[in-house]
């Protein structure tokens, strides 16, 4: 019984979002296209190609990272 209720809540939430997106106005759809393009540019192009995390990429452990920063702070 509890499982039925849970499924029903899950389904209702799913339907809520599904209906919302399906019946979205033209300007709402345009905005979502802008959001998706923007997220692609930010997370795929910028993050991976241009903005890697310097310490994570160049050092394997926190110990190595702290040693590097210590060198930077005391050189």
């Amino acid at each position: 019984m509890e499982e039925v209720v849970k499924k029903s809540v899950f389904k209702r939430v799913w339907n809520f979002y599904w209906e919302g997106f399906r019946n979205m106005s033209k300007w709402g759809k345009s905005l979502w296209i802008i959001i998706l393009i923007k997220l692609f540019i930010f997370f795929v192009i910028i993050k991976f190609l241009f903005m890697p995390n310097f310490l994570n990429r160049n050092f394997n452990s926190d110990e190595e990272r702290s040693r590097h920063v210590m060198e930077e702070l005391t050189r």
């Binding site: 300007w27 923007k38 702290s66 930077e72």
Partner: protein, 522 residues
């Protein structure tokens, strides 16, 4: 440190951060402010049942949606920059930044994504009260997100509640509540939220005035102006009060910034507050007259009174910090450089003692970093040990001074502006006041300028610090090729400019369409 640093790398990294932060801040304050106004408008709808209020709420909600959609995730670029361009800083701040930003991420994701969806998709699908609760929770969620970012920023201005760990080269939080409730953080949050409110109110008045001029949606425009003027007036008075509180905190923890904000080179008792003035060029000031201003309008003794609650209190100037003022107990920059140098040397010695296996010496040196006397006399000035030019530790006075005064003048102007609109609205004369209606759309950029100027004061006024007195930009930056920073600077400038243009174009189109498609049925 200085022998091998590429200064163009530091400058481009700073420019890039400034560019992205300023663009990001084009979108944020409207979101912060308008969500509260939407919640209040919808509350009136639920209380009165008048469908016009629903139509009005839905119209402004649409404009909020455009701003939110274009602005969302623009702040993530700043986090990318921390990892790429400011890796020393990111490591050094440790969990102080990580904890608030993690809470912000969770709050932003769960609260905003859930309740914004209900705000937009939930009309006629959930009960009126549930929808209203979602609108309020969106406002609270958006502003709580801002809280955590501002707490992190406040810590950079006034690092409290932490201890430096020489083993990891990181700061560790010793008291979360000291960080969260530091007076700088509390004032910064209240002031910033107030500025969002004022900006949103001016945005609503400007667009509503355009509707009145076009003789469209008069009832909607009248109601919007009335609500916006009332809330804007309250928020602008709040802004003046919290601005005063912020200035007091600056006097306490960043007195050099206060001196730069007021263009005060030589400290004095009973210092006056400069309402506005034109600063003398540096060469002229030093070579000829010694006067700080070519022209100024000054209120005698007011700065001393506002900053310290005593009209005759001494307010230190830039030169007092530069050269020191033993009579007032102010250390000179060279003295701080020496003390900071000792702290840096102790860290270096500790690192070497540990590496050579000299545990006795290492233990003794490590003890310094928890010794209150060493912390107070040396580690407090750690960042001064990174540079040997006194002038490096002085912020750009003219930019700080003019930005501060532009912000303050506009802030007081907004109080007057809201009073005028409230007066006309209360007398039912809005339609007749063509001059003010024509002016209102052109006023919309002004709170954006004031808000940006405020951040310029906050950030440029504390240069060269990324963390006040502990870490200057020269030590915080990642040693990468400056060419790559220039490339990403251009990339960000293009991306954000396209986004800003898209925002304006879509917003204008939605405004021209008006609320005609917004159903107002009960």
């Amino acid at each position: 440190m200085l022998q091998s640093i590429d200064w163009s790398l530091v400058d481009w990294s700073r420019a890039q951060f400034a560019l992205t932060a300023m663009y990001h801040w084009l979108f944020v304050p409207l979101t912060l402010g308008i969500t509260w106004i939407l919640a209040i408008m919808e509350t009136i709808y639920v209380k009165t049942g008048d469908p016009e209020w629903k139509r009005l709420t839905k119209f402004w909600m649409k404009l909020f949606g455009i701003n939110f959609a274009i602005g969302v995730a623009t702040g993530i670029i700043l986090e990318f920059e921390f990892g790429t361009n400011w890796s020393n800083y990111s490591w050094f701040v440790g969990d102080i930044f990580g904890a608030p930003l993690a809470v912000e991420g969770i709050m932003a994701f769960f609260m905003e994504s859930t309740f914004i969806a209900i705000m937009f998709f939930g009309w006629n699908k959930v009960s009126k009260k549930f929808h209203l609760a979602s609108t309020w929770l969106t406002a609270i969620g958006a502003n709580l997100s801002a809280l955590w970012i501002l707490v992190a920023n406040a810590w950079m201005q006034s690092p409290v509640g932490t201890q430096f760990n020489p083993d990891t080269a990181r700061n560790e939080m010793t008291n979360f509540f000291d960080v969260l409730f530091s007076p700088v953080a509390v004032n910064k949050f209240l002031h910033t939220i107030g500025s969002g409110f004022v900006l949103a109110a001016i945005f609503i008045i400007g667009i509503s005035a355009w509707f009145l001029l076009k003789k469209r949606e008069s009832r909607l425009a009248f109601r919007s102006i009335t609500i916006a003027a009332i809330l804007g007036l309250l928020a602008s008075v709040h802004l003046v009060l919290t601005g005063d509180g912020s200035a007091k905190r600056v006097a306490e923890v960043q007195p050099m910034k206060l001196a730069a904000m007021e263009g005060l080179y030589d400290g004095k008792e009973g210092a006056g507050l400069v309402g506005f003035g034109i600063l003398a060029a540096k060469e002229k000031r030093e070579a000829e007259t010694g006067e700080e201003f070519i022209f100024k309008f000054e209120m005698p003794k007011v700065l001393s009174w506002m900053a310290y609650g005593d009209a005759n209190h001494f307010v230190a100037g830039v030169n007092d910090f530069k050269n020191g003022n033993p009579e007032r107990g102010i250390l000179s920059i060279p003295e701080k450089m020496q003390r900071g140098g000792i702290a840096r040397q102790a860290l270096d010695d500790y690192k070497r003692a540990k590496a050579s296996g000299d545990t006795a010496r290492a233990d003794s040196l490590k003890g310094l970093f928890s010794d209150p006397e060493f912390l107070e006399n040396n580690f407090k000035y750690f960042g001064y040990g990174f540079h040997d030019d006194v002038n490096y530790f002085i912020p750009h006075v003219p930019i700080t001074f003019y930005s501060f005064h532009i912000m303050v003048i506009l802030g007081f102007g907004f109080v007057l502006y809201f009073l005028i609109f409230l007066f006309f609205a209360s007398r039912g004369e809005l339609q007749k006041r063509k001059f003010w209606l024509r002016l209102a759309p052109w006023v919309i950029p002004l709170p954006y300028i004031a808000s940006q100027a405020g951040w310029v004061v906050a950030e440029l006024g504390r240069q060269p610090w990324t963390i006040q007195d502990l870490l200057p930009t020269v030590a915080a930056v990642t040693r990468i090729d400056s060419g790559s920073v220039i490339v990403t600077f251009i990339l960000f400038a293009l991306t954000f400019t396209v986004l800003a243009i898209a925002e304006v174009k879509i917003m204008l189109s939605a405004i021209k369409t008006g609320p005609k498609n917004e159903g107002g049925t009960r």
